[in-house]
Structures are given as structure tokens and as C-alpha cells.
């Protein structure tokens, strides 16, 4: 890979992403406020607080060189992620404290103490993380402040809960359970609200939490492989907003190889591969996942129906072996370069490919 080019591209990306993030942060802030209101007891789950945090974060362990650029995209993203993590940690800590409260009522004091200590440790860890987030220093001060405020409020509530737990009586347990239930309900409400917003308002406006991801993929791919390799790129809203790339048959293997080996993409895991007969054309759908970056992508390729042939992905992901055999068996798609393309289910003597829409069952005796 050309390093200079990579750097320039990354800078460009950083600028664009910063813009993106500004927009996103606004949304996150709103969500945070909402969650805070809804969950007064303090159990705001991270994805309520920040619906985008799960998927939209940049690579956690960034490529070397990324850190050299002051407020780079990765930095901001990781800072954001850390905030999200810290909130998550808080929630976990809270849960643990609730547990401590419950068990404190039931069991002996020692256990409660132990759990409280663990909770305290967790809080310290959360604090440390918070500090780290602060140190990461970027311009999303506002959102972080919000989060911190929420966290502080939660910590207070938690401390209260802990006190109750130390009191160690049945009442406390009852209360804790009631609180837990209320919390769950509140969370559900918050989620529903968020979902309602997502489904209702966000849909037509065409902004998805995964937009930055998609843009990143497209940019990197077009940067390296030219603009012709992508037929289409969109967010598939029906499939949990997975960024979807459609590539022409000729570029299929090239793009797949790039997706696997590029430093910033590194889609090392093939989750799913299958074909579909759309009558006008055949399609192969590949769902990839990157464990280093924790990002998904769907790769689709359209092939003509009369002569369905496409490159095999087995050289890249050995895990594509059997799924490609399956697609060959049931749809007749031939994969070039497959080490052992067999009719894996039906056997070599079966007539026709059942999942083709024009399939007629054939029986020699009928």
C-alpha cells in the first residue's frame, strides 16, 4: 500500500469525519438528555444514551501513524467510544450495586461488603476511564460534560442504593427490586422512544448512525481501487443499518481482497455467504465482519442468470468453502477458483437447482 497516499487520504477522511461527528454529536446529545430524563433512577443504557455508539465508532486499535495527526478522526472516535464505554461501565456498576443491595439483604454482611468493594473498584475504573477520555481532548466537550453529569448523578443514586443495601433488611430488597423493575421499564420506554424517533423521524431524512461507516468504506475503496469498482453503496435500513456495497462481477474478488487486507478495513471474518435468484439476475450476498474494528459490511454482487459464474472467496476466507458449495448446489452459481466445488447436499446426480425460481422437480419414475 502506498503510505503517502494513505496518509493524505486519512487526513482527508479525518476532516470529513470531524464534520460528520459534529452532526452526530448533536444527535447523541439529544439522546443523552432524553435518556437522562427517562431513567431517573440512573439506569441509562449506553445505546439509549447514544444510539450510534455501538456501531459508528472508529477503529479502536487504530493503524500506526493515525495518532500523529492532532484531532484525527480516530482520536475523536476513540474518545467518543470511551465516553460510551464509561457510561456502559457505569450501568454495569449500578447493576452490580443493585446486586450488592439485594444480596446484602439476604446474605451475610461480608458478601455485601465484598460486592460493595468490587463496585467501588469498578467506579474507580470508570473514573479512570473518564479521565482518560478527558485526556483524549477533543472538541466534543459538551457531549462529554453531559455524560459526566449523568454519570455523577448515577453515582449518587448508586451510593444511595449501596447505603440501603448496607442497611440489610427486607425492605431494602423490596425497594431494590422495585427500583430494578422501574429501571427496566424506564429503559424500555426510553428505547421505545428512541426507536420511534429512529423509525419515524430519522428514516425519511436518510441519516443513519452507520453513515460515517459507509462513507469511510466507500472513500477507502475508491481511493485505492478507483471509482468503478462500486456499483452502489447504501445503508440497508432493514438489516440493522448495515453498510452495503454492491460491486460488479469483475471487481468482486478485488474488492473482497481489499476489504480483507486493507489496514483500515480488515474484514477478517466471513459471517455469511449465499446466493439468491432474483429472476432478472442472480445475486451473491456476503456478510463480513471485522473483529479488530468491530464493524460489519455487506457485500453484494449481481451476476447474470444464464451463466452464473463468479470468483470464489475461498482463497481469502477458507470459511467460504461450504457456503459456496451450497450456493452452487442449490442455485447453480459456479465459483471460479473454488478448490472443491461439489453439490454438497443433493449429490452430483440431482437434476436442477432447487432454489432457482424456475426449478421443476425431476423424478425419473414420474
Amino acid at each position: 500500500m502506498d503510505e503517502e497516499k494513505d496518509l493524505a487520504q486519512r487526513k482527508k477522511e479525518a476532516a470529513e469525519r470531524a464534520k460528520q461527528l459534529a452532526r452526530e454529536r448533536l444527535a447523541a446529545k439529544q439522546a443523552a438528555e432524553q435518556a437522562k430524563q427517562a431513567a431517573e433512577t440512573g439506569d441509562a443504557r449506553s445505546d439509549d444514551l447514544n444510539p450510534s455508539s455501538d456501531v459508528s465508532d472508529g477503529p479502536a486499535n487504530e493503524a500506526p501513524g493515525g495518532a500523529a495527526q492532532p484531532p484525527s478522526a480516530e482520536d475523536i472516535a476513540s474518545a467518543k467510544k470511551r465516553v460510551a464505554e464509561e457510561v456502559r461501565a457505569k450501568a454495569a456498576e449500578l447493576r452490580r450495586q443493585r446486586e450488592a443491595a439485594e444480596s446484602g439483604a439476604e446474605d451475610d454482611l461480608e458478601l455485601a461488603k465484598k460486592k460493595a468493594a468490587a463496585a467501588a473498584k469498578a467506579r474507580a475504573a470508570a473514573l479512570a476511564k473518564q479521565k482518560a477520555a478527558e485526556a483524549a481532548g477533543s472538541d466534543d466537550e459538551l457531549a462529554k460534560q453531559k455524560a459526566k453529569a449523568a454519570a455523577a448523578a448515577k453515582a449518587r443514586a448508586a451510593a444511595l442504593a449501596k447505603q440501603q443495601g448496607d442497611a440489610a433488611d427486607d425492605e431494602a430488597k423490596q425497594k431494590a427490586i422495585a427500583a430494578a423493575k422501574a429501571k427496566a421499564a424506564a429503559a424500555a420506554r426510553a428505547k421505545a422512544a428512541a426507536a420511534g424517533e429512529d423509525g419515524g423521524a430519522a428514516k425519511p431524512s436518510a441519516s443513519s448512525p452507520n453513515d460515517p461507516l459507509l462513507q469511510k468504506y466507500v472513500r477507502i475503496i475508491e481511493e485505492h481501487l478507483g471509482p468503478d469498482v462500486l456499483e452502489d453503496a447504501y445503508i440497508n435500513r432493514l438489516a440493522k443499518d448495515v453498510p452495503t456495497l454492491v460491486v460488479p462481477k469483475e471487481a468482486y474478488y478485488k474488492v473482497a481482497e481489499f476489504l480483507k487486507y486493507n489496514e483500515q478495513l480488515r474484514f477478517d471474518y466471513l459471517s455469511e455467504l449465499h446466493g439468491t435468484d432474483f429472476q432478472t439476475h442472480m445475486e451473491v450476498y456476503v456478510h463480513l465482519y471485522s473483529y479488530p474494528n468491530r464493524q460489519p459490511v455487506a457485500l453484494k454482487v449481481k451476476i447474470e442468470r444464464d451463466n452464473p459464474e463468479v470468483d470464489s472467496l475461498v482463497p481469502l476466507w477458507p470459511g467460504a468453502n461450504w457456503p459456496e458449495c451450497e450456493a452452487y448446489d442449490l442455485l447453480g452459481i459456479r465459483f471460479r477458483g473454488h478448490p472443491n466445488l461439489i453439490r454438497i447436499f443433493l449429490g452430483e446426480h440431482w437434476v436442477g437447482h432447487p432454489l432457482r425460481k424456475d426449478y421443476e422437480p425431476y423424478d425419473a419414475e414420474v
Binding site: R45, S46, D47, D54, A92, R95, R96, E99, I177, A180, K181, A184, A185, A187, A188, A192, A195, G199, N236, R237, L238, A239, K240, V242, D268, Y269, L270, S271, E272, H274, T276, D277, F278, Y285, H287, Y291, R294, A298, W317, P318, G319, A320, N321, W322, P323, E326, L330, I344, F345, L346, G347, P354, L355
Partner: protein
């Protein structure tokens, strides 16, 4: 004088007690060392995906029961979840809790079957009976819930079919400490046994990179040190409300997979305990679902954590009552691919230990 030696082709299956179904393995062996292993599958292929193209969404649910028949609840769920994702249906709180309880009970039952049969493969007879005794209790619980013992057909798009009967939650609550105690006994009987450890330690080992490139998932992936559980990392349903750990081991061998599964039983018990605690006393069990379920045109792919790995469901819809194309990502099918690689160069006696540790269900492998 030179002795003439030749390689022997040994057919393991399709009828063999340790292939757990109709699975055939063609082994080319030299003495007792395996030169080459060729798996042959498809004996149980029933064309679920083809059948589904002619059925309405709700009608497909019973067919999913028959894929991974040891944890039918997760299969039910993945289909419902895919359709709900497409249609944007909100599932009521109580139904979500019932689903999670059913799925986690199913996960324990599935791991118990694995534990029993795996040790049967290794020549120990008693664990099988112990495991089935405990599994029977789970089956009875699920039977009370759904009316079936194996093919539950319990979940519906937008909720569940039946509400929990009176006192059911209490029974589940009582089951948790019982199971914990038995699990402790299992460890005492088997986990520390020297013969057992000798047979599984270092056997069937693969690295993290191999596991990822071969598309392994679930315990087969986690046993190599990849901390990845969709319940935790891409939370679906209400799994983000529970506090549980993702058991991970670094060994990548049969022992690591064994330990991971046993630890997962413990974690599932924790989830069940919390779910019982938080269970809403009342509420609807079906969300607002149109009378005729029609997924909007487009396609979806969702994946969730089944006992054997990630089970996924792809639906391409053209807006009709039936799916245009339905495809399940079946974890056993993907997990089994690594078998030829693992078996090469192994002693014949390890075949069963390795095959068993992957934990396949042939109904799922063959679709």
C-alpha cells in the same frame, strides 16, 4: 524383505454411534494415523429454505424448530427477530422476558446434551444419564410454557404464543440453584478426571486466526481467546439488561471448548436468575402486529447467539406474505468446515474427541 503396506479407507458413518446423526466421514488412514478426512453431508437436507418460499412467515416457525432441534427456541427467535427487524415491530416487555428465559433454558439444555453425549463418545456412560436427567427438567419447564418438548414452535412475530402458566416463574427460580449444585457435581465427576483431561488437552487445537478465517463462531471461536458474544457485543432482545460474563479460554483445544461450554451454563443461569427477578408481573405478550404479516420489500440479515454459534437469518422480501428468499446462517454448517484440517495427522482415537468437541447438530448442518 519389504512389507507391503497400504492405506485404508475407513468410512465413519452415515450410521455410526458417534457422528450424532447422519454424518459421514471418509478417512484415509495409515495404521491409526489419518492421512485425509473428507466429510460428506446432506443426508438430512430437507430443503427448509425452499419450503419456506411457499409459506407465510408464521408458518415457517415450526420448520425452524427442526434445524437445530436441540435449541429450537433460538431458531424460533432468529426468524421472528428478522421479520420484526424488517417490519419495525416492537415486542412487549413481558414477551421479551419470556423469550429470553426460553432461550437461555434452551441453551442450558443444549449444552447438557452436548456434555452428556461428548462424554459418551469418550467412553464414560454415566454423565449422559445425569445430563439427561437435568435436561428433562428443562424440557418439562419448556413443555409447560409451549406445549411441546422438542419442537416448541413457541415464538411468534411480535411476541410469544403462550403466556407463562401460574407459578412457572417460581419453578424456573427453583431450578437455578438445583442446576448450580448439579453443575458442581459434574465438575467433580468429569472435569478433574485425569483420563478425561489427557484425552482432551491439546487435542484438536487451532489458533485464533484459523478460527476467524474458517468462520467459526460461538464456543468454537471463544475457546481461542476471541471475546465475542452477540448477546454482549451486538445486543438484541433485552440482553443488555443482564449482567453476565462471556467465558473465554485461550487453549483452542477440546479442553478449552469443554470449559467454555460448562462456564456458559453458569452464565445462562445468571441470566435466568436476573430475568426471573425482573420479570414484569403483567402485560401483553403480543405486540401490535398486522393481521397479515407482510415484510416490506427489501432484504435483511440478522444474527444472534445460538448455543452452537451465531445463527443468522437472511430474508429477501418482495412485499408479499411469503418471503422471496429465506436463508439461515446455520452455525454447525460453518463450524464443521474446519474438521478436515483438524483431523489430518491425528490418531484415529482422536477423531471422535475432535468431532464431538465442535458440537454439531446434523439437522442444522444439512438445513
Amino acid at each position: 524383505m519389504m512389507l507391503r503396506t497400504e492405506e485404508m479407507i475407513l468410512n465413519v458413518g452415515p450410521q455410526h454411534p458417534s457422528t450424532h446423526g447422519v454424518f459421514r466421514l471418509i478417512l484415509k488412514i495409515d495404521g491409526e494415523i489419518i492421512q485425509e478426512a473428507t466429510p460428506v453431508i446432506g443426508y438430512l437436507h430437507r430443503g427448509t429454505e425452499k419450503i419456506a418460499e411457499g409459506l407465510q412467515y408464521t408458518q415457517i416457525i415450526p420448520y425452524t424448530d427442526r434445524m437445530d432441534y436441540l435449541s429450537a427456541m433460538t431458531n424460533n427467535y432468529v426468524l421472528c427477530h428478522a421479520v420484526e427487524t424488517m417490519m419495525g415491530i416492537e415486542v412487549p416487555e413481558r414477551a421479551e422476558y419470556l423469550r429470553v428465559l426460553a432461550m437461555e433454558l434452551g441453551r442450558i439444555a443444549s449444552h447438557l446434551v452436548w456434555w452428556g453425549t461428548y462424554l459418551l463418545d469418550l467412553g464414560a456412560t454415566s454423565p449422559f444419564l445425569y445430563a439427561f436427567r437435568e435436561r428433562e427438567m428443562i424440557i418439562n419447564l419448556l413443555n409447560e410454557l409451549s406445549g411441546a418438548r422438542l419442537t416448541f414452535n413457541y415464538m411468534r412475530i411480535g411476541g410469544v404464543k403462550w403466556d407463562a402458566p401460574d407459578g412457572w416463574i417460581d419453578k424456573v427460580k427453583q431450578f437455578v440453584p438445583y442446576m448450580r449444585e448439579k453443575l458442581h457435581g459434574y465438575h467433580e465427576l468429569v472435569t478433574g478426571n485425569e483420563i478425561f483431561r489427557q484425552r482432551v488437552t491439546g487435542v484438536g487445537r487451532y489458533t485464533k486466526e484459523e478460527a476467524i478465517s474458517y468462520s467459526l463462531s460461538g464456543v468454537n471461536l471463544r475457546s481461542t481467546g476471541v471475546k465475542w458474544d452477540l448477546r454482549k457485543d451486538e445486543p438484541y432482545s433485552i440482553y443488555d439488561r443482564f449482567d453476565f460474563d462471556v467465558p473465554v479460554r485461550d487453549g483452542g483445544d477440546c479442553l478449552a471448548r469443554y470449559e467454555c461450554r460448562m462456564a456458559e451454563i453458569e452464565q445462562s443461569l445468571r441470566i435466568i436468575e436476573q430475568a426471573c427477578e425482573q420479570f414484569p408481573p403483567e402485560g401483553p405478550i403480543m405486540g401490535k402486529v398486522p393481521r397479515i404479516i407482510k415484510a416490506p420489500p427489501g432484504e435483511t440479515f440478522v444474527r444472534i447467539e445460538a448455543p452452537r454459534g451465531e445463527i443468522g437469518c437472511y430474508i429477501a422480501s418482495d412485499g408479499k406474505k411469503e418471503p422471496y428468499r429465506l436463508k439461515f446462517r446455520r452455525p454447525s454448517f460453518y463450524n464443521l468446515q474446519i474438521l478436515p484440517k483438524l483431523l489430518k495427522g491425528q490418531n484415529l482415537a482422536n477423531v471422535i474427541a475432535i468431532l464431538g468437541s465442535i458440537d454439531i447438530v446434523l439437522g442444522e448442518v444439512d438445513g
